[in-house]
Symmetry: C2
Amino acid sequence: MSIDKNAEDAVVSLVLTTSRALVGVAARSLSTLGDDVTLPQYRGLVILAARGPQGVGALAQALSIHPSNATRLCDRLARKQLIERHVSQESRREVTVAVTSAGRQLLAAVTKQRASEIRAIVRLMPVGQWPQVVGALGVFADAAGEAPDDAWKLGWT
Amino acid sequence: MSIDKNAEDAVVSLVLTTSRALVGVAARSLSTLGDDVTLPQYRGLVILAARGPQGVGALAQALSIHPSNATRLCDRLARKQLIERHVSQESRREVTVAVTSAGRQLLAAVTKQRASEIRAIVRLMPVGQWPQVVGALGVFADAAGEAPDDAWKLGWT
DNA sequence: TGTAATGCTTGCTATACCGCAACTATTGCT
DNA sequence: AGCAATAGTTGCGGTATAGCAAGCATTACA
């Protein structure tokens, strides 16, 4: 048990270290947004892109913010042409919010920047170990995928 | 070359996936702060904890914000007893900012929460693969460590 | 010693974010 | 038709972040 415990601690510790590096990458990729888009706005974009067009209320719930707050977030995103508001066809009182192509481009730019930084790191790793890394990360990703995952909710991905 | 390219893409893609999971963990761990501490404030705390006590100007530079902004950030952190300001002994015009024990406790709580979530994921991985994961993550962490690393600057760690 | 540079703070203004309450428009139900 | 529930918006007040300019000490230097 103590051996397993130590092994577990070793894995956790390494994952924590890895986490620091990857979160740093993510943070920097967001900073490429400049002052154009704030973090809450980016989170909203991610949600809308992941879940597809939906109402302001649903967005508010996903972001855990007050509906009125979501309205104004949408105001700002719409002003930047990153989303579009359309009155729903089903209910005239519902407003459907959708990411525009410009919004998608912004999200793609963030991902691209992130991949680019990761690529630089990967190239520093001995090529001979890539297979092992792929295997290990696959195992981890599987496990993380099974874990209750609200990550995308937070829009920090 | 095309094979290496594919292999590289595979690694990058997996790291991206892993990144999403880990960033989600990090984001959730920050949300344990409640509304007590904002993200900029947390970033400041991380910097101070990592670099040790230092002047307001150095903190501002590390956070890439205006010194006046750093002053007010320190105001808020000090009001919450998370940092302390002392006039430097060397220069009476310099103010040294240091994390208090309460501040360290807050940081520890975040890390603890993060480790706890990671532990849950680790336990979902087959024990037999832990050694491989440790090896692979070690390789990755090394590579990430060699890469120009401003991650801690951003205080999202 | 007098002047310039440094380190930090304060006044100012602007934006973003946040929740609550009140309001409008629409839909659903009786 | 009338009333209640729903979806979204707007008004309001509050805090946080952010930069610029001005000011105050203090230090460094000429």
